[in-house]
Amino acid sequence: MNLYDIIFYLFAAITIVSAFIVVNAKNIVYAAFSLLFTFFGVSGLYVLLGADFIAIVQVMVYIGGILVLLLFGVMLTHKITSVDIKAGSVQTIPAVIIIGIFAALLIGLMYSTHWAVNPAEIPVTTTKSLGKTLVTEYVLIFELLGILLLVAMIGAATIARRDGDK
C-alpha cells in the first residue's frame, strides 16, 4: 500500500461518510454543507484518475455554482431551516430485498466481466486534448448545449423579472 492508495482511501472515505450525512441529516443546512465534502471527495478521486480538468470543473461547477445556489435556496426560503426532514425508515423489508438483489447483480457483474486492463500512462494534462475534441469531433453537441444553456438563462431572466419592470 503506497501513498496514493492511502490518499485514495482518504478521499473515498470523505465521499462516502459525507454522502451518508447528506442522506441522514435532520437539518437541511447540514445536508447542504456535507454535500460540499462529497463533491470535494469526488473531485479528489478524479485527480487520482489523472483527470485534472474534470476535477477542477467538478469543484468549480458543483461547489462554486450548484452548492452555493442550493445554500441560497435553503437560506432564503422561509422557515425551511427549522423544518425537520423526515429521515426515518419505512418499508424496510422490501427495500432490503431490492437493494440485496441489486448489489448481488452489480457484484456478480463486476467479477464476471473481463475488464480491459490498459497499462497506458496517465496523461500529464487533459486540457488541450479535451478542448480539441470538443471543437472538432463533438462540435455540434457542444454548440447545441451552449444554445440550450442560453435558452435556459433567458427563460430564468424572464421569469425572475417583475411585471412592472421595463
Binding site: M60, I63, T127
Partner: protein, 356 residues
Amino acid sequence: MYEYLNNIVGNEVITYFVVAALPLFLVVLPFALIAVLAERKVSAHMQDRLGPMRVGYHGILQTVADILKLIQKEDIIIPQADKKLFNLAPFLVFIGSYAVFAALPFSSKFIGTNAEVGIFYILAVSGFVVAGILMGGWASDNKYSLLGAMRSAAQIVSYEIPTAIVVLTLVMITGTLNLGTMSEQQTAYFWNWNILGGAGEGIQQILLIPFMVVAFTILFISTLAEVNRTPFDIPEAESELVAGFHTEYSGMKFAMFFLAEYANMFAVSAIIVSLLFGGYQSPFGYLGNTLGIPALIPFEQLFWFLSKGVFFVFVQMWLRWTLPRLRVDQLMTVCWKYLIPYAVFNLLIVGIITLI
C-alpha cells in the same frame, strides 16, 4: 527545489508537507504581519494622522502586540450559534484562500504545483471561500451576519464571471493555463509583459496593448470586488451590518478570517502580476546574469514577484482610503451591465487580433 528538499528530508511525503507549508510561513504570515501595519500606516498618512506610534520605533511592532492580544482572547461562542458549523467556517475560508497559493509561481524554481490547470484551479477553489462565508454567516444566528454572508457570496459569485472572461482572454493569447509557463513566456524586460502585448513580434503586439489595458482594468476591478475590499466592501459595511459575516467571531477565529482576507489580497495581486505584469520576471534583466552567478536568479525572481504583488496590495489600500463604498444595486450594475459586456467584447477583439 523538490529534488533538493527530498535529498535533505529523505522522504517524499514529508517533502510534500514541507513544500505545502513553505508559502504559509515564508509569504502569508510575514505578509499579513506587515500588511496590517502598512494598512494602518497608509490610512493614517492619507488622513494626515500618524497611526500607531507606541509599540517599537514608529509603531513597527504594533501587529505583533495585536497578535499576542488576539491569542489571549477568550474564544466566545454565542449559545444560539450552531457550534459545529460556527467552528468549521473560519478554517474553510482560510483553506480556500490558502489553496490559491499552490498554483502561484513565486520564482522559476518554486511553484507549489506545476499542474497544467493552474489558473483554472485558482478560480475554482474560491468556491470554498463562498461556502465558508455562507457557513459562518448562517451558523452565527445573527441577522447581520446572515445578510453580510449573502451579500458577500452574491458578490463573489457575480464578479467571478468577468474575472473568468479576462483570464480566458489571457489564456487565449498565451495558450496555457499554467501560471508558471505564462510567466516564463513573458521573458525578462518589461516590454515582453502581457500588458504590453506579450512576447510576440510585430504589429500584433502593438495592436494588443489597448485591449490588454482594458483587460487589466476589468481584472483589477473584479478581483478587488472578489476580496470584498473597499469600494466593494458592502458585505462588511460597518454602518449597515456591523462587521458582516464575522460579527460574532472573536479571538483566533476572527484572526483566521482576517488572515484569509490578507492572504486573498496578496493572492489576487499575484494573479494580476502573473497574468499581465510578467510574473516573477524582472523588468530590467537579472543581476545574476551580469555577475555570472546563475544561482542568484531564482532569489531575484522571488524578490520581483513579491515586490510586484505588494505594489498591487498597496494600490488596493490606496483605493480603500480614496473611494467611497458602492451601494448594492450599483455594485451589481457595475458587474452585470458594464464589466461582463466589456470583457466579452474584449475577448472577441483579442481573438480577432490573434488570428491576424
